[in-house]
């Protein structure tokens, strides 16, 4: 579908606006509630892991969730295929 068609799609623009806003605001809230050190933590972890394995920025995600009175720091590292391991 070309850009021209996009503007002529059947959906009305208010619905598009609402959908975009809902996603945007959910994302804003997610970032707002994170402590400010998380991006730095993510970068430093990435640097350490890169010493041993070839990975990209996107392969490491760090997030903090709150559940009642405890906080959970969740760390996700997607390791690549075996061939990418660096030799010590």
């Amino acid at each position: 579908m070309g850009l021209f068609d996009y503007f002529h799609a059947n959906r009305n623009s208010a619905d598009v606006a609402k959908e975009r806003l809902s996603i945007l605001i959910a994302r804003d809230h997610f970032h707002r509630n994170q402590p400010s050190f998380l991006p730095a933590l993510q970068n430093e972890l990435l640097e350490v892991i890169k010493k041993y394995v070839d990975i990209d920025q996107d392969d490491v995600t760090v997030s903090l969730d709150r559940e009642e009175d405890c906080e959970i720091l969740e760390l996700n590292i997607a390791l690549p295929e075996k061939g990418c391991y660096k030799e010590a």
Partner: protein, 270 residues
């Protein structure tokens, strides 16, 4: 007990000054002694909307720097009893609003006023921060347009984290959503976010909806707050907001498309 109300939005041009002027005037008309402060230092405009620009001698910054007393700087409205305006400085920059200075002025106003309305500048910089810091209640002015809604959400985040009430562990700032420039016809055609959509996204109590209206421009041209105009839909909608703010239950009007008939003819486009 004095209540301090900040009129804020994040985004510029959505109607903060129009709303501040209407609100302060409306509260004064109900008999409450009300002061409205322009926090937009460097871009003074409230005096124009209130029609007292030629009577400005001293301003908010002069009071903070003790070059003038509060009584010298406060302008008494010529039309409405109980209404006073504290204009912003046109020549200084926003850093002139020190936290201590603003607090001193607000505390002095609290001795005699029932309501203090703070007209915030756009943005989330120092001036906006000072305008919201001492607030008990916040009127978040929003247009049915995505960037305005997103900015309002950002401001709500700041109200919940950066105000004196939060710092002092008091009950949070009471938030009110005010939707302005609403065009029911465009909502009906699916071209504009509806009041329900925005209410759902921002999820704070709705104070009112001000319809898009030519009378808002006419009022600011003349320097007469639009709430005084009883032939204007926007003016009447603002009056309803004052009633709701003071605890009355008033149904929303002007949010559906015109039905024609005498009411539509009377208020068509006004």
């Amino acid at each position: 007990m004095t209540r301090i109300i900040v009129v804020t939005s994040g985004k510029g041009g959505v109607g903060k000054t129009t709303t501040s002027a209407a609100f302060a005037t409306g509260l004064a008309l109900q008999g409450y002694k009300t002061a409205v402060i322009d926090f937009d230092v460097g871009l003074r405009n409230l005096d124009l909307v209130m029609g007292c620009e030629r009577r400005v001698v001293y301003d908010f910054v002069n009071v903070i720097t003790k070059e003038a007393s509060l009584n010298q700087a406060l302008i008494r409205d010529k039309r409405i009893e109980n209404l006073y305006i504290l204009p912003a400085s046109q020549t200084r920059d926003k850093e002139a609003l020190t936290m201590e200075g603003v607090e001193t002025v607000i505390n002095e106003l609290k001795e005699t006023f029932d309501y203090i309305v703070c007209d915030s500048p756009a943005g989330i910089e120092h001036g906006a921060y000072m305008a919201m810091y001492f607030a008990d209640e916040a009127i978040v002015v929003t247009n049915p347009e995505i960037s305005s809604v997103r900015d309002s959400d950002r401001i709500l985040g700041l109200l919940a984290s950066k105000t004196k009430r939060v710092v002092e562990n008091k009950t949070p700032v009471k938030e009110h959503l005010l939707l302005t420039r609403y065009a029911p016809e465009r909502v009906k055609n699916g071209e504009m976010l509806s009041v329900d959509d925005i209410h759902e996204i921002l999820s704070i109590p709705l104070l009112g909806v001000i319809p898009e209206s030519q009378s808002v421009l006419t009022a600011s041209n003349q320097g007469i707050p639009v709430i005084i105009n009883k032939n204007s839909r926007a003016g009447l909608a603002y009056s309803d907001c004052i009633g709701r703010f003071l605890g009355e239950e008033i149904e929303l009007r002007f949010i559906n498309t015109k039905k024609g008939g005498i009411f539509g003819k009377l208020f068509g486009g006004r």
